[in-house]
């Protein structure tokens, strides 16, 4: 009986701490070269138990960070800014080459492979509250094809 109570309390505690906690994993940024003012940031975002929207990104390494969507339509690569991306409860949103990504523009300096970039993601909750989640991304080589090649 006692053990059940402990388990129940533990379950409640986990459920409470899990609320409002988005998790971000496998964050990486493509390395950039001198004179190359733009690059992309990619990651996996796991939603929490409420409906969220990724609405913004800031980083000290770039003048501007925007959420972009890349898509191929009739063999033409099109890219455009999106205002936000909805994340359903528990959904895993993957920002990856060929899809959504964070476009880092006006880079202040080249980002060499192996260095780290700090990003802050802003999520809007169902009630309009903004949660800010800091993320540290690893800079991967320029020729990285997708999650982890050429590592």
């Amino acid at each position: 009986m006692n053990r059940h109570l402990i388990a129940l309390a533990w379950g409640i505690a986990v459920a409470c701490t899990a609320r409002g906690e988005v998790t971000v994993s496998e964050a990486w940024v493509r390395a950039s070269l001198p004179q190359q003012a733009v690059t992309g940031a990619y990651m996996k975002i796991t939603g929490d138990d409420e409906r969220l929207r990724l609405v913004g990104v800031t980083t000290p390494v770039a003048g501007v960070a925007e959420i972009h969507e890349m898509r191929i339509e009739n063999d033409i690569a099109r890219m455009g800014r999106v205002d936000g991306i909805a994340i359903a409860p528990g959904e895993v949103l993957e920002l990856r080459p060929g899809g959504y990504h964070v476009m880092l523009m006006d880079l202040h300096q080249p980002l060499p492979a192996g260095s780290e970039v700090v990003l802050e993601l802003a999520f809007e909750g169902a009630g309009g509250a903004i949660h800010r989640v800091p993320v540290t991304a690893t800079v991967r080589p320029l020729n990285t094809r997708a999650g982890g090649h050429h590592q």
């Binding site: 070269l33 001198p34 004179q35 733009v38 992309g40 890349m70 063999d75 690569a77 080459p97």
Partner: protein, 201 residues
């Protein structure tokens, strides 16, 4: 389903097999490439400066297979992915065949892509890749000749424009004829197979 198959006469299966064999033979006769074949393969000349300032013309690449990719370095996504794919496909070839394949990255954004930037950009994928850069007019004319679509899309500030562009790789055979277009969806092994087939011609 099982019962129906059991009732099928033996010759119907033979006919189906024959049909499949004919279809496969037809596929091979049409070239059998995984990439899209251009029905009227014609010589497609080009003449541009590389990132070291040397004038490069299509005739110097005769006897080799040339992969041309039109892109720009401020493209965070499609361009690096495509160049990395080409490098991997060439790595699948034996060294003597790999040496007979030339990859040229042609910038669609000569305004921002300086020769210096292009040099270090292509080198990040392979020491053997070359970058070609023309004036805005030369670029537009060459893109038109290759039927490459590109369009500048304004960003949130004047220097932040991006480009929409055709995402396939153009393949010239050993005689300089534009033969194939490789879409980004093609598997790397299939790209390598097509290269092998072209080199064997």
């Amino acid at each position: 389903m099982k019962a129906a198959r059991g009732r099928r006469p033996w010759w119907s299966r033979c006919l189906a097999g024959l049909g499949l064999a004919v279809a496969l033979a037809g596929h091979a006769a049409a070239g059998g490439f995984h990439a899209r074949e251009l029905p009227d393969a014609a010589e497609q000349p080009f003449r541009l400066h590389d990132a070291h300032g040397a004038l490069r013309t299509s005739t110097e690449f005769r006897g080799r297979v040339v992969l041309l990719f039109f892109g720009f370095t401020h493209c965070p996504d499609v361009c690096p992915t495509e160049l990395a794919r080409l490098a991997e496909a060439i790595d699948l070839l034996p060294p003597d065949q790999a040496r007979q394949v030339e990859v040229a990255f042609i910038t669609l954004d000569p305004q921002r892509d300086s020769p210096q930037l292009l040099r270090s950009y292509v080198a990040a994928f392979s020491p053997d890749f070359i970058a070609l850069r023309g004036s805005e007019e030369e670029t537009a004319a060459l893109a038109k000749a290759f039927r490459v679509f590109y369009r500048r899309v304004a960003g949130s500030a004047p220097g932040r424009y991006t480009l929409e562009h055709s995402a396939y790789v153009h393949v010239l055979d050993k005689r300089g004829r534009l033969r194939l277009r490789i879409p980004g969806s093609l598997a790397i092994e299939q790209v390598a197979e097509d290269l092998r087939r072209l080199l064997a011609e």
